[in-house]
């Protein structure tokens, strides 16, 4: 068993889990934070995207033991009082249909806006579509998701 110590959404947690436990399993099954979804479980779809030490990662492709010591933010930790600007933008622009991919989309989107702001590069529509390469929506298309990110990028 591995001792896993994380700060998840600002709260310190310690659990003993089998060494091969994935971070997404730890979040969903140990902490009952089920907003982080398992879509493909093969690191393609991005539904499981969370932030580890401030960076978007696929939590189905990281061991909980390997993340131990890190700060993790999940979709549950994004809202601070009111909705996060990215959550509000997805709401305003109907950036979802069934909503299964949405937690991962939003965590990826927040990460991309932060990164582009930090580097000073322009996050235009083409860049957003390129940045969404690792997140798959199977309902409809990406138009409203891209619109949502464009709106939030102006507000974050």
């Amino acid at each position: 068993m591995a001792e896993v110590k994380l700060t998840v959404n600002g709260k310190r947690v310690t659990r003993h889990v089998p060494d091969e436990t994935l971070l997404v399993e730890f979040l969903r099954e140990e902490l009952r934070l089920t907003g982080t979804h398992v879509g493909c479980d093969t690191s393609q779809c991005g539904a499981c995207t969370v932030h580890v030490d401030g960076m978007a990662v696929k939590s189905c492709t990281m061991l909980a033991a390997s993340a131990s010591g890190s700060e993790v933010t999940t979709i549950e930790g994004l809202a601070n009082g009111g909705l996060h600007p990215m959550q509000k933008a997805f709401n305003d622009n109907h950036g979802l249909q069934c909503g299964f991919c949405t937690p991962g989309m939003i965590m990826t989107a927040v990460d991309m806006v932060r990164r582009y702001k930090a580097s000073g590069e322009r996050l235009d529509e083409e860049a957003i579509r390129h940045e969404l390469e690792g997140n798959i929506c199977r309902c409809t298309g990406y138009h409203n998701i891209v619109k949502s990110i464009q709106q939030a990028a102006g507000e974050m």
Partner: protein, 263 residues
Amino acid sequence: MYATTYHRPSSVEEAARLLSGEAKILAGGQTLLPAMKLHLAGPSDLVDIRRIGALKGIKADRSAVTIGAATTHFEVASSPDIRKAIPALATLAGWIGDPAVRHVGTIGGSIANNDPAADYPAGLLGLGATVVTNQREIAADDFFTGLFSTALEDGEIITAVRFPVPKRAGYEKLRHPASRFALVGVMVAETAGGVRVAVTGSGSDGVFRATELEAALAKSFTASALAGITIATDRLMSDIHGDAAYRANAIRVIAQRAVGSAK
């Protein structure tokens, strides 16, 4: 996933001591963990080297760029030093996987795995890099020995990769439209030791140097110099994504684009 035992050593020496039997190094894990889920890998122990300080970081001077083995693709792609010294290498790293994969995946993990469609093997071979391990230095020409195989011995750990700064270099790739892996990826470089052209995604034995293209570019480092060149198909793979003849043509076209973008 089969049960395994996780270790987090704090030094390369400690990591080396833990590597015995069926133990495997865990770097970014972006290939190893999916392989373990599919039961294609079942290491008894995982030795996590991701946080060993000595394996991280980028050093650049006029003649070379040295990248620690546990440095992520994101760190390479966004490094001002690498963008200045070898922009083609930053481009290559920025095209691996997707943003979340690039935040975790490492250069050492990529080359130790030597996937025939991975980008870094073409980067190392095309730029004439040197792989530094805890035991020795290995020229890229000797490092990649076939599909998913390298010159690494049991217990040997990659610590860094050293790239000589070329006069100019360019990397381009033809992506599979769904997986985005390279059907053809070509690194061209004009180096102190001559012109080098390395091809990934296409070789039936993994990454290789395209000597026909190197000879033509040595005479004239221009896209038009490659116009009439035919690539031999005997060492190229044929699969549902493209047959050897298709890949041979694509290698020439992508090499021409790489020459065009070289700087």
